[in-house]
């Protein structure tokens, strides 16, 4: 078979890589850039709202920012940042050399990126979409708004990437586990990622269908949503929320997973109630599909439907409560180390509870008529999204950083970052509960003075400045630590942690494990520390290791999808420079040509010879 890999240029190497660890880092970088972009929009929106009758942004710009902020945060920041950790960590935690479909994994990243770039291209063609991230019809049918075409096709493309990545995670977790790693020994982060991937599979497909309907209506004059031709506008809302509510759990379940890794590691105790945690995850996921219409209480679906969906929604509080208590019991009586990761993880718990409580309040259908589309809703979901997902992402960043980048982040700067962010977060969003109760509607670009809204809006915006300062400290921390941070090269297990990823050498070799480990218990590394000699027993002799070849085709295919989408949008442009169909054809050629090339060419990968693996082992001072 093919010989040992040839040396390539650095750029080419990253463009063609199918290594899940590199892809994890690429997701981290791309997600962070989108996060900063959407965050900047949020700051601009808050500056606009700092005082009544402000004219910092126009109403149109505000609407575009609100739409892009929500859309980017959910699809292009939070999801890829979670995917970053999933990609990097899952194979390590289950003791695998690789994912099930390395090529598909790379393809998923590039397609997500090209969809994101397609969405962002809207700024160069008359502005972003302006119908809110939910793109409710008939608002989103506005013919004069090219931005909405970018929304529809950008999300369609990036959604394909997310979907195929989810399938890759599912198969990886089922088929690639090391010997002894039974399903009921999977770390919770793997479990939650697994359940999240199922949710993606069953929620992103209705979204794809819905976006296709919207695309056909906007570009090819279909009549689904036109009452004059027999259409119905509420269909969009149903399809959107059948996707949209599970989407929240798609984001929050892996966040739960991160918390369930960090809290035991720094409490020096095993996770309390492992089995209950696993089943609570599944129950939450199941119920997540049954509650979509709680977003539609005020649409007029009737009292019976409203009651059913209200009760189903409140039921989710039960499994969620189980999780909360299990985290508390894990910390209870533990030897807790309050470093930055643990600070974020433990502050996640009360913050998330607050978001959950307001969620139950919103689930009461009759009262929702009061809260609906006010700032109370904005406060609620930011407590979940920022107080839940983003805090967990920060916890995960500080926790896994040493494995990913071979040095730690600075703890002093980390704590400053934590304090600034916490103050800023609560300042920004806590007062929004009151703004909502006082009647300030959501998605308005300004408000009248003298109605009691002025002070709270001012406080809220100042909170945003604290969060911005916090993010600046984080950036400083990253740069500073890259230069001066504590190196952990050769230190496999800097936190004295419990799971398998800490059994790999730092830096992690491209094959992850020289010998596949034999798993003997839940928290396998901890088990070996107590019952063995502190290192994993190998499940196989040292041998040649089979690895997949890199490929440029994922980049080619995703460029093709970009052109396919862009060509369709050109159909809506006043006078495009060249025939849109030429662009569509070019895109189709690249996409399907790339796929055909891939299937015509059997790629068997290459082998890392035994001698190289042995030499690596010797360098690391091991090698049984």
């Amino acid at each position: 078979m093919a010989s040992y890999k040839k040396e390539k240029g650095v750029v080419w190497d990253w463009l063609t890589t199918v290594d899940h660890k590199k892809l994890g880092i690429m997701y981290l970088i791309a997600g962070t850039l989108f996060f900063l972009k959407a965050g900047l929009m949020a700051v601009f929106m808050r500056i606009q709202l700092i005082m009544p009758d402000n004219t910092f942004l126009s109403g149109q710009t505000f609407n575009e920012f609100i739409t892009m902020h929500g859309t980017i945060m959910l699809f292009l920041a939070a999801t890829p940042l979670l995917f970053a950790f999933m990609n990097f960590v899952i194979p390590l935690q289950i003791g695998a050399r690789d994912v099930a479909f390395p090529f598909v994994n790379a393809l998923g990243f590039w397609i997500f990126l090209s969809g994101g770039l397609l969405l962002s291209t809207s700024w160069f063609f008359g502005g972003g979409p302006d119908a809110g991230w939910t793109a409710y019809v008939p608002l989103s049918l506005n013919e004069n708004q090219l931005g909405l075409d970018f929304y529809v096709l950008g999300l369609q493309v990036s959604g394909i990437g997310t979907l195929i990545s989810a399938i890759n995670f599912l198969v990886t977790i089922i088929n690639m586990r090391a010997p002894g790693m039974t399903m009921m020994r999977l770390p919770l982060f793997v479990w939650t990622s697994f359940v999240t991937s199922t949710l993606i599979l069953f929620a992103f497909t209705p979204l794809a269908a819905g976006l296709a309907l919207l695309m056909l209506e906007r570009i090819f004059d279909a009549q689904f949503f036109n009452p004059a031709a027999g259409g119905n506008v509420v269909i969009w809302q149903h399809i959107f929320w059948i996707f949209g509510h599970p989407e929240v759990y798609i984001l929050v379940l892996p966040a739960f997973g991160i918390i369930s890794e960090v809290i035991p590691a720094f409490s020096r105790k095993r996770l309390f109630g492992y089995t209950a945690m696993v089943f609570a995850t599944m129950i939450i996921a199941f119920l997540g599909f049954m509650v979509w219409a709680h977003h539609m209480f005020t649409v007029g679906i009737g009292p019976v439907a409203n009651s059913i969906f209200a009760i189903a929604t409140m039921t989710i509080a039960v499994p969620t409560g189980i999780k909360i208590f299990n985290w508390l019991f894990t910390m209870w009586g533990g030897k807790i180390t309050f470093n930055t990761a643990m600070l974020f993880a433990s502050s996640f718990v009360p913050t998330f509870v607050l978001g959950g409580v307001t969620g139950v309040m919103l689930a009461m259908a009759p009262v929702d008529y009061l809260y609906h589309d006010t700032y109370f809703v904005v406060a609620h979901f930011h407590y979940i999204i920022v107080g839940g997902i983003v805090l967990a992402l920060f916890a995960g960043l500080f926790y896994w950083y040493p494995k990913m980048f071979n040095h730690k982040l600075n703890e002093k700067l980390g704590v400053i970052f934590f304090i600034l962010f916490t103050i800023g977060f609560h300042m920004t969003f806590f007062v929004q509960h009151f703004l909502g109760l006082m009647g300030m509607p959501r998605r308005v670009y300004t408000y009248l003075g003298g109605q009691g809204l002025d002070e709270f809006n001012m406080i809220s915006t100042i909170g945003t400045f604290f969060m911005s300062a916090a993010v600046i400290v984080l950036v400083i921390n990253i740069v500073y630590s890259a230069i001066k941070g504590e190196r952990v090269i050769g230190v496999n297990d800097p936190w004295d942690a419990r799971t398998l990823e800490w059994a790999t050498p730092t830096p992690v070799p491209e094959y992850n494990f020289a010998q596949t480990p034999q798993v003997r218990s839940l928290d396998p590394l901890f088990y070996e520390k107590v019952h063995g000699d502190g290192t994993m027993k190998p499940a196989e002799p040292v041998d040649d290791i089979h690895m997949p070849n890199g490929s440029i085709l994922p980049v080619v295919i995703s460029i093709g999808l970009y052109f396919l989408g862009f060509g369709l949008i050109m159909l809506e442009m006043e006078n495009p420079m060249l025939s849109p169909w030429i662009v569509v054809a070019l895109g189709g050629l690249l996409t399907f040509g790339g796929m055909a090339l891939r299937s015509l060419n059997d790629d068997h990968g290459y082998h890392i010879p035994k001698s190289v693996v042995k030499a690596d082992l010797k360098k690391q001072g091991g090698g049984k």
């Binding site: 078979m1 599912l170 198969v171 599979l201 069953f202 090819f220 689904f224 027999g230 399809i239 299937s599």
Partner: protein, 207 residues
Amino acid sequence: MAGTVDTTKGLPSHPERATLEGKNKFLGFWFFLGGETIMFATFFGTYLGLRNGIGDGPSSSELFTLPLVFLMTMILLTSSMTSVFAMFAMKKNKFKQMMAWMIVTVVLGMVFLGLEIYEFQHYVHDYEFGFTTSAFSSAFYTLVGLHGAHVLFGLGWITLLIVRNIRSGITLTNAPKFYVASLYWHFIDVVWVFIFTVVYLMGAGGY
């Protein structure tokens, strides 16, 4: 790992699942079909919601002629059967037989697609029932057209597989590919059975 299965004594009885790579493909494809099912379900739901929204256009009972659709159904069902024969041949390591059945499957699929194109243009020309006529027409062409697009993709895929492997015999590399393609073909068939029932039978009966 991949390629470590001993094939010197002939192929194993399940060549499509003998290697880890094959197993992954097999499982991954089932998940993919799960997603496709949900996507089609969404289009079915939309169609059911809009099938009476005919605006000024014709209704389903004015349009559909069951004999043609019945013929199409029979052809597609037969093509599903021929792809099963191909898989039987694969498991018995009879390469030529497998290829022959695969080619028959493709030909039947092409006839089906031809009839569908004829059907659509018949509606457009004789009834002025175009894509933009009414909510019903849009939903109809979207659902049935998406199925047609799947048929087209499947035809391209299987043809490519046949051409690529015309001389290679059955190997542990291409067995999972043929197997997965035939799974996809069955899926298309099952979706069509639902379309036949929900769209044509219910529509012609005026329900």
